[in-house]
Symmetry: C2
Subunit: 361 residues, 2 copies
């Protein structure tokens, strides 16, 4: 248990996208400075951070400079070199730990860890080659999703098998993955998807936001609705499982844990992200404290806030040119807006989001 960092200390953030931007804004409100490391010029976070180190994420000099300028280091995305993070950790506190990052980076390791921590997962098989894929498919009734073990996000790096004639042949799929290690996940016939945003402070206390119900389109989060449609028992179960995971990871910071909800209300843990999470953006609009502030509190050694949610809400992402709706949305009295300050509205790119609060009298 370290002492809280004094106000005015600097939080180093690896990555300069919208998550880092929202972390930087939350840090500023609490009187803390931020330094972001991000190769892209004028990235969302650099626009609001105190310092921008413009180098590649794994650039040694850049990371060293970040370490020198910062009093604690965190990151906004999980595709970071673990060994670089481990090296950083010998000089400065890094939250979440390199260990949590390592687990989250590999679907096989992650699923194994989830199971070991007492959470249910979809059935999965380690896939090395066309033969192991073929036999795993056979086991799963020719249906399942082949996923790269590493570096997949937003539905990228996935091949679906639905047991129909137009499925790829196993050998084709292995070839398409160019030898990348993969797992086959069995299909899960779920009713809906929910996620829990959990935070754990340096004192070991845990605080979870209630589950949001998520809808994905084309593998990208489309909306998060709170309260979700699931039963109170399922909500509590999801919070208990997120608590179990975050403790098992000996985690400091905020994470997002996604679940599939089965027809009987039971939960299948899908994956976790060792960072603030898109499905937690609603907290900024509908709660007394946001996931971003909770994460910052963890980093600076403050106690977690026990948040309350003051409104029902639906958060929707604004992708690509959807961002142009912003001014129209601004006229709605119950909408809270967030624009990430990205110059170019490429298709599918996360440009901003809005949270519609339930209408009040």
């Amino acid at each position: 248990m370290t002492m809280p960092l004094p106000a005015g200390s600097t939080i180093g953030i690896i990555g300069g996208g919208q998550l880092a931007r929202m972390l930087a804004l939350a840090a500023a409100r609490l009187g803390f400075k931020t330094a972001v490391l991000e190769p892209q010029e004028n990235c969302p976070a650099a626009q609001v951070a105190n310092v921008h180190i413009q180098t590649a994420y794994d650039d040694k000099e850049g990371l060293e400079k970040l370490s020198q300028l910062s009093d604690v280091i965190t990151y906004e995305f999980e595709n970071i070199d673990v060994s670089a993070l481990e090296k950083l950790s010998s000089d400065i506190d890094v939250y979440p730990s390199a260990q949590a990052l390592r687990i989250s980076q590999d679907r096989l390791v992650e699923k194994t860890f989830l199971q070991k921590s007492g959470l249910n997962t979809a059935p999965y098989r380690d896939i090395d080659n066309a033969q192991t894929l073929e036999s795993a498919l056979q086991e799963f009734g020719e249906r399942g999703i082949l996923k790269t073990r590493r570096f997949g996000y937003d539905g990228k790096g996935q091949i679906r098998f639905s047991g129909k004639p137009d499925d790829m042949l196993p050998a084709e799929a292995i070839e398409a993955f160019e030898g990348a290690p993969a797992i086959l996940e069995g299909f899960v016939e779920f009713t809906c998807e929910i996620s829990v945003i959990a935070s754990r402070g340096q004192d070991g206390n845990v605080s979870c936001f209630e589950p949001a119900e998520n809808i994905h389109k084309n593998g990208i989060l489309f909306s998060s609705t709170v309260p979700s449609s699931v039963s109170e028992a399922t909500k509590q179960n999801a919070i208990d499982e997120a608590t179990r995971l975050i403790q098992a990871l000996d985690y400091v910071g905020t994470l997002g844990l996604e679940f599939f909800v089965m027809p009987d209300g039971s939960l299948i843990a899908n994956e976790f992200a060792p960072r603030v999470h898109n499905s937690g953006h609603w907290t900024e609009a509908a709660c007394s404290v946001s996931q971003f502030e909770q994460h910052i509190r963890c980093c600076i050694g403050w106690p977690l806030a026990k948040q309350h949610r003051h409104s029902d809400c639906v958060m929707e992402n604004l992708l690509g040119h959807d961002i142009e709706k912003l001014v129209t949305l601004a006229g709605d009295p119950n909408i809270v807006l967030h624009n990430y300050g990205k110059a170019e509205a490429r298709e599918g790119r996360k440009m901003g989001h809005f949270t519609q609060l339930a209408t009040r009298k």
Copy 2:
């Protein structure tokens, strides 16, 4: 009626204190950039703004640079040279207008304008010299407050007369003011003080937050409580009067209007500030939209949000070394914090604030 500014546009802010800082944070959330003009290095707003022009507030080159970098200009304090602002206004939209600024800068002009707009004020007299002061005191029963007409804030530049032997002599008071133009205000035996934060968009629509009840200590705001203890009729009356004032000023932006509440519930307008206001900081914690976002919306030509307040609350300022309480306050589940990032905790200096939300189950 101009078109809304496109996202990514830059809002120039004269002044780099905590109000500018909170404006910059609100602008960032909406995807807008900020440039602040402020002589002080590493000022609160420069830490979060995109550009810091470090010159005196009335520096011609600095203001010109601000005008060139910005798409609209606003300011965070009222002690700005009106003629400099008028000059700026010929090149770029400035909100609130130089006219509103001019009225607010002179207590005599301000009180006259308030009365002309149909608001009641305390009795007042223009004071030129010891003789006019003496006769005004006589008229007011030897009691009243002598105030400089210009450049007073947080209780500075005021001399009280209470009709007792240890009062200053009129000649002494005039000497203490070193010839500064002044007014004498009659005492008002009020029950409590309230303020209304009102915003008016470029479309002429007005939105007011409900009145906060304010307590001052040593002439500095100590706390704002919402809801206030006044009757519904008095609340509505305060909102109606703020609406009348903001329309009479043909104002664009957010202002704070302070009232004394009399024992019969009637209102005496005290003064208005042509900017976001300390007594409106609670809006950031207890409402779906803050006074800062409302002001930014006015500047960028967006519609105002029709806010709702989701919690009862009390905002308290953290002055000087009070800021050290922040970490302790952080442990309270119902407290929302704000630290302005000032390096030195000088006595009486506004370092931050916190808003205690009413406890939820």
